[in-house]
Symmetry: C2
Subunit: 575 residues, 2 copies
């Protein structure tokens, strides 16, 4: 295509409301245009990228044996009432009333619709397994849409749903889809990780999220560089090689009051004492739903994992204690509280790491004082409960037992696969006749990919100060041929037109920049837009039979003979 | 693809609610599945057809220089208020309120959104013309959705919008799009006509509808087989070679009362008198918005064209008179009314044909009587107004002046192109800077194709008692290889697998029917589904090295050597 035929609208500045880098770059490069809160038009250049992602997703879904269909976006309330989700889904669901006062929603997801299809179309074990997918516009009425297409209200999603006669069959398809997802993100040229995800109320281990790694990611992930272990930090287990008490060293110090007039944070106390923060213990005051006051103990540099502690007995739906509650229970203001000398009724939950510590430093339960040389058993009772209640940190032992060490990174969730089991099939009576002629609820899996979000995630992972750097498979064009002086120099025009024609004939996705613009402005546009390869044709080099080549990611200019340009580009763009 | 990997769900009977043949066949062939009123899932087989239509549309839009983008389905109320259409569009627009109580609609069309894009992105004449299109899910809350995807509420549409610095430029793009539409329907293998359409309030001649010709079509079209004239019957002009009075023969009969005790319809009166119905005149009583009683005269075998008569002075929004109003004005019950001897104040509007008649038969304004031998000027005054107020009929002179004769046919509207001119750009201040540095509202065109409706329309045009007969470009598969005894005969399996592999390698879109079903049932499925070419591989013919070929449209079986089957099919499927 020629730029003269393509709508290009690059901007020097992004609107102030764009916070995230990918959002800014997408607006500046003219890939998207805002219509309203969480509503974006995909402009011609952006749509080219979106379609390339779609094509890779489709190709891998087809290869995985999934069949494409297309369900309506608008779904009747009655179906959602069968699963109880009409009321449960919450305000994210955009509800609609039609002219006959019947209620519908703009589908945020399609479990109900596909299960309705399956229960009427799949009757026998002979028809199972079956796996259906669609690429479709979804709507979720986010309370605060932001980050452009990263968290838009209207977005493009690939959703697949599989139906099975047995759990084994579900597990098999789940594994195939896991593999297909890995291929999708690999083909798209993205650094990603599949992480074990929380299966919530359904339980089991059958759920994985696929994350594109990027500093701006909303999710914190823990992974092991030497194995394939990866998990959301909320779920990653912090393990110990032995029981905490077996690891605990013997006490060597006497418990001593330490004057900490202004130091309330562990790091500040440690600095005052000239010791590492890992020698400190912080106490976090919590209140259970039953109204019980509880003290959680964590090493000073560790953070409470609310998901983990909520799973302990009586701790579901706990909350943090108020300052007044802390004063009432411990007779001490926040900032100096600790586990020593407190009312014996107060339940103390110590993290595994804390339970293995000796001679530690903690709050003294006395304003402006901490204690050093504190030891369990001697200065205070053993904790009531010892458990893994913290987030893992860099350097923690990997819980898969293969001897590796965890590292943390941030990720953007772009895919999620899930073993639904019989949650929907039981609620909607989606049964089949077994080989033994009995009726049984189908096992189900669901598999989502945020197609439009992938575009933003790819930019978060692949950019520099000049703009986007598209991975080959997602680039709107593989090659930009920038013709400097196309409208002034016959030689440039002839060379550019010829190379363009050759590349088109060779099946290379090429954009010929034939605009009458300053070279700097054309280069800046092609860099902002992120086209992976650029060939510049200008009078000066052309006089020597040469053109200039720059790879977007490397940025270094090479001179190439015009006569070899076609072959050179073909070699660079071969995926 | 193999049938064992494809979800096929054919049915012997269509549900009772399906009235239209295409709707029945689509349900029976398992192309679509109903979710709710006017809401259909495109099942895998149906989606293949839909995607083929989409691909042809895209290819011709791109060739016409239109650029694809994708606008949100959900549109804010504020934009529609700028054009006043929020209130005007009526209950067909599905209105939505989001969680923040802001109002939106599920876009029934996108003039407002694209004009909003154009006014901020297209600022200079240098950026014009520009033509954008999208293929998108639309929603129109039809009061009575019916006929399956023919008149669904949620449907797939290609909508394009062009922007211009001058009317000449609009006209140019309009012509290009007219050509592109013709290519789309030609490539899809459909018999169609482009007909001049009513431009309503905007006026001018810049609107054409594209109709697929089919007996079940909702629209009645008039076309000339010897020229390219075609128009909706509502708009086709009934012309006369000369003025009616010049064509009128001299009176030869005396006006006579005719006893017609039970005959009220012209045809019955003519039959009673033993003359042709074209000798009779019927009077139709109308009331204008001002309350004036008007008599319209038409030849007995002609029908009133309400669009045409409404354009006469004072006749806008007329209605038919009630029986009581007729009795009050003419002192005669309906069925026997006529123009003779009536109050001179009553305005008489005669169709051109009637004005040219002499010695005609009409109601006597006397219960149970008609008059014969009636003549204008002698028995009643010349009509107050003489005009073309009827629908054209088979055999009318073509109004293009090329000497042809009109024929009538029925059509299904699948495309509409329209010169919007400055209706939206003026309402929304969509202006550009001209070469003379002045500001001017852009000229606009819009161009729609009912992508999902095309699938149904194609079936209405292409079917037989056995099912669908897809035109080549729309077929879900080009060729069905039916392997009879695939699971029993090694020879059949080997031959079928080999031919299948050869066809796949040759790029032929082939479906291998490897199901363990009765041959009759497999044939019936492939015929119902409408695959254009079928090769049957069975033991008997195979023993002689032969396979059987049937073209779906012809239905005649030919024996072909297995060794020549590949070449034969390639020759048949070459488009």
């Amino acid at each position: 295509m020629r730029t003269s035929q393509l709508f290009i609208s690059t901007k020097k500045e992004a609107p102030a409301e764009a916070e995230l880098l990918s959002h800014k770059l997408m607006l500046r490069a003219g890939l998207i245009k805002r219509l309203g809160s969480g509503l974006y038009t995909w402009m011609p250049l952006g749509l080219r990228v979106l379609r390339k992602v779609e094509a890779v997703v489709r190709s891998e879904m087809n290869a995985a044996g999934a069949q494409e269909l297309l369900m309506p976006a608008v779904q009747p309330k009655e179906l959602w009432e069968e699963t109880g989700r009409w009321d449960v889904f919450g305000p994210q669901m955009l509800k609609i009333t039609d002219r006959h006062e019947r209620q519908f929603c703009f589908g945020p997801t399609h479990e109900e619709v596909i299960t309705d299809i399956a229960r009427s179309e799949l009757r026998s074990y002979k028809q199972l397994p079956a796996n259906f997918y669609q690429v479709q516009t979804k709507f979720r009425d986010e309370i605060r849409p932001r980050f452009g297409v990263m968290r838009a209200r209207e977005f493009m999603m690939k959703d697949a749903y599989s139906f099975h006669a047995s759990f084994e069959s579900l597990q098999q398809t789940y594994d195939v889809m896991y593999g297909a997802y890995s291929k999708v993100f690999t083909r798209l040229g993205l650094q990603f990780r599949a992480v074990a995800a929380d299966t919530g109320a359904i339980g089991g281990s059958g759920s994985h999220e696929f994350h594109v790694l990027a500093d701006a990611g909303e999710d914190l992930l823990a992974y092991c560089p030497t194995s394939d272990y990866a998990a959301n930090v909320e779920l990653a287990e912090a393990i110990m090689p032995d029981s905490p008490s077996a690891l605990r060293a013997a006490a060597t110090q006497a418990m001593t009051d330490v004057d900490t007039p202004k130091q309330t944070a562990c790091a500040d106390v440690a600095a005052l004492l000239g010791v590492g923060v890992e020698r400190t213990v912080k106490a976090i005051a919590l209140v259970t739903v039953a109204g019980e006051f509880v003290l959680a103990l964590l090493r000073g540099d560790h953070n409470l994992n609310e998901v983990k502690i909520a799973k302990l007995e009586g701790m579901a739906d706990f909350r943090f204690a108020s300052d007044d509650e802390i004063r009432a229970a411990l007779l001490c203001p926040p900032g100096f509280i600790g586990p020593v000398g407190i009312n014996a009724d107060i339940r103390v939950i110590a993290d595994l790491t804390v339970a293995a510590m000796s001679d530690f430093i903690c709050g003294a339960n006395k304003p402006k004082f901490h204690l050093s040389g504190v030891n369990f058993g001697r200065d205070l009772p053993e904790p009531h409960i010892v458990a893994d209640i913290r987030n893992v940190v860099n350097g923690d032992v990997c819980p898969d037992g293969k001897g590796g060490v965890l590292e943390l990174c941030r990720g953007i969730e772009v895919g999620h696969i899930f073993q639904l089991r019989t949650k929907y099939s039981e609620a909607m009576n989606c049964v089949f006749v077994t080989e033994q002629n009995t009726q049984q609820a189908m096992e189900m899996g669901c598999y989502g990919i945020g197609v439009s979000r992938i575009v933003a995630a790819a930019i978060e992972q692949n950019h520099d100060a000049k703009g986007i750097i598209w991975p080959a498979a997602m680039a709107p064009f593989s090659v930009a041929v920038v013709a400097v002086g196309y409208h002034k120099s016959e030689a440039v025009k002839a060379a550019a037109d010829q190379l363009y024609a050759q590349l088109v004939a060779a099946g290379v996705d090429v954009l010929l920049d034939d605009r009458n613009e300053r070279p700097g402005s054309m280069f800046a546009d092609m860099e902002l837009i992120g086209i992976p390869h650029r060939v510049t044709i200008g009078d000066k080099a052309l006089a020597e039979g040469m053109v200039e080549y720059v790879a977007r990611r490397e940025g270094e200019m090479k001179k190439i003979a015009l006569s070899e340009a076609l072959a050179w580009i073909q070699a660079q763009t071969k995926i």
